[in-house]
């Protein structure tokens, strides 16, 4: 009887490999999302931080930051969306390091499941959480005066772009998490690369105020490019095409490099 069950499994997986890749990733995504249902405080606290950033920049720093031709809150919110997405991506590495330390990755790797599922499921569930937080931030933004000035489709496009950008960062974070493995170290290490990328950018202030050498970095920073693309999509009077293409190219480029890197790390994780 046992033999029959095994043979059946092996037989099924051959012709429908893609189905299993998707189904396995979905099983893992669901598992990861259940944690927010079981520990709601996890979700609550991942929303508190971005809300504080909105309030901080809108009411504390905002008055001192002058952006010509735009209300600061409209300038700010795309930056907040990207920051939320990028900070959220840190969780991908932390979650994987946690799974590693608890022996769950060992279990998954010993199962006949798709090799991509753990990473795909983790990055997907982190993107779902990011979507939730960004929608919440949109609500908070509206309360403090932010408006989309373009229309539903460009607005949705802007949010989608922030999500895609965060998703690409999730794969960077996954590579780091699987390489460092220790939960606290992953957390600490994340801010080493996330912080400069987020703040040495046009996310919160115009780059023109920065010293020349920093401007050069900030202008090339994919966070700047993506935030500017989002502003083009939300502010109506900016040209859209160039920033958007560059941003999408960055996202694609990061995925091309970091997806294989993370998958290789996963396969070799001992």
């Amino acid at each position: 009887m046992t033999t029959v069950a095994v043979e059946k499994t092996a037989e099924q997986s051959a012709p429908t490999r893609l189905t299993w890749v998707i189904s396995d990733a979905w099983v893992i995504t669901k598992r990861n999302l259940l944690q927010y249902v079981r520990i709601p405080s996890l979700l609550v606290f991942s929303t508190v931080q971005p809300v504080m950033f909105v309030l901080l920049f809108r009411y504390v720093f905002g008055g001192a930051i002058n952006v010509p031709g735009v209300r600061y809150v409209d300038f700010l919110m795309p930056g907040i969306f990207v920051q939320t997405s990028v900070f959220g991506a840190v969780q991908t590495g932390i979650g994987l390091a946690e799974d590693l330390s608890k022996g769950l990755i060992d279990r998954f790797r010993s199962l006949p499941m798709a090799r991509s599922a753990v990473l795909a499921g983790r990055t997907a569930s982190d993107s779902v959480r990011n979507l939730f937080v960004i929608l919440l931030m949109t609500g908070v933004g509206y309360l403090v005066g932010f408006r989309f000035h373009t229309g539903l489709i460009p607005a949705a496009g802007a949010i989608l772009l922030a999500l895609a950008f965060g998703h690409a960062f999730s794969w960077i974070s996954a590579s780091i998490g699987l390489a460092i493995r220790d939960v606290e170290s992953v957390q600490a290490a994340s801010f080493v690369w996330i912080f400069p990328l987020t703040f040495a950018s046009a996310a919160f202030v115009p780059v023109q105020g920065m010293p020349g050498w920093l401007q050069a970095f900030a202008k090339a920073n994919p966070v700047t490019i993506t935030v500017n693309a989002m502003r083009s999509l939300t502010l109506a009077h900016l040209p859209v095409a160039r920033n958007l293409v560059e941003s999408i190219a960055w996202i694609a480029g990061l995925m091309v490099v970091f997806v294989p890197l993370a998958v290789r790390r996963y396969r070799q994780s001992v």
Partner: protein, 342 residues
């Protein structure tokens, strides 16, 4: 019939400068239990990790259920179950969700995964707790849940890596019963353990490994026969008298005695000569003025075998291993049942 369920030939693995496995040959027939016995750091876990495709071997080959661990890794995974050293359960999921998830990942399909999850939980006495998060489970319950999850795919070959480490004696014995039942149903099992009594109780054959090498293999009875018949175990009251005691009794046995400094204990292989040897040992120790804590004539345990094979007690070796790996210390149980009973 035919091919063994587990087969390794000349398995080697090194991590940097550390040789974890140095040419290990193992074999387990279908439907039997192979006990892999050895201290921490001996190479037990590395062996399991290679056999479950988590690690590639450096040299040698290995197959499970007829599948090569490297070439047929994917098919192999569908035929095995693994429960590791740490109960690999997701604490935020309920017991049911944990087992169901693993079932889905064995590609059982939704309905079947649910059915088997219920079946497994029922069988392992977790039905009542099925819809509580695993966070609320006791250590023993987590181990049962972990074991249950490893069985949901109805594996031909099951790997249990120190399944009872850290469990209280009652949970251990409960888990043993479950394991015996599985084997009766035809599952082949590879079980690693540091507990000699566990291997003695569960395994058809035992492979003893130490420092990456296979140092003995056989049925528990065969291994015990290596010590030869019964043993006299002498425990001195004052550790400083241990060498006096050894001097007194050493010439009694041609093969020499085993000393365990930690336990202030001397073990003499008595062969068929038990009572006479006991009497003589007592006389000599008395004459030498060595106060005793305990003296017993008993059947050898795998403890004695390990001592005889490696020249050191299993626990000592375990501590060496622990120093290397920084694992949580685990005490005592490995001593078995002989000494204290008398």
């Amino acid at each position: 019939m035919g091919e063994p369920a587990i087969l390794t030939e000349g398995l080697r693995k090194r991590f940097g400068n550390v040789v974890a496995l140095d040419g290990v040959d193992l074999q387990a027939e279908q439907g039997t239990v192979l006990g892999l016995l050895g201290p921490n750091g001996a190479g037990k876990t590395t062996t399991v990790r290679i056999l479950t495709t988590l690690l590639p071997p450096d040299k040698g080959r290995a197959s499970v259920a007829g599948y090569d661990v490297v070439r047929d890794a994917e098919s192999l995974r569908a035929a095995i179950g693994l429960a590791g050293q740490y109960a690999a359960v997701d604490e935020n999921l309920t017991g049911f969700e944990n087992v169901e998830m693993v079932g889905r990942l064995y590609h059982l399909g939704k309905v079947e995964a649910r059915r088997r999850a219920n079946e497994v939980l029922e069988r392992f006495g977790l039905a009542q707790a099925a819809h509580r998060t695993a966070k609320t489970y006791s250590g023993g319950m987590r181990r049962r849940l972990d074991l249950g999850a490893s069985l949901v795919g109805r594996p031909l070959v099951l790997f249990l890596d120190e399944p009872t480490s850290g469990l209280d004696p009652r949970s251990r014995i409960g888990l043993w019963d479950l394991i015996r039942e599985l084997v009766r149903e035809g599952t082949t099992l590879l079980l690693t353990t540091q507990y000699l009594d566990e291997a003695d109780n569960l395994a058809h054959r035992v492979a003893v490994i130490d420092e990456g090498k296979l140092i003995a293999e056989g049925t528990p009875e065969e291994l015990k026969a290596r010590v030869g018949g019964e043993v006299v175990e002498i425990r001195v009251a004052d550790r400083s008298k241990l060498s006096d005691a050894l001097t007194a009794v050493f010439s009694l046995v041609p093969g020499g005695a085993q000393i365990d400094n930690q336990e202030a204990k001397i073990v003499l292989p008595a062969g068929e000569n038990g009572p006479a040897l006991t009497m003589e040992a007592l006389r000599r120790l008395d004459a030498a003025g060595v106060p005793l804590a305990d003296l017993a004539l008993r059947r050898p345990t795998l403890d004695d075998v390990f001592l005889a094979l490696t020249g050191r007690a299993a626990e000592q070796a375990e501590e060496n291993g622990q120093a290397k790996r920084g694992r949580r210390a685990r005490r005592r149980q490995a001593t078995g049942d002989g000494g204290d009973a008398a």
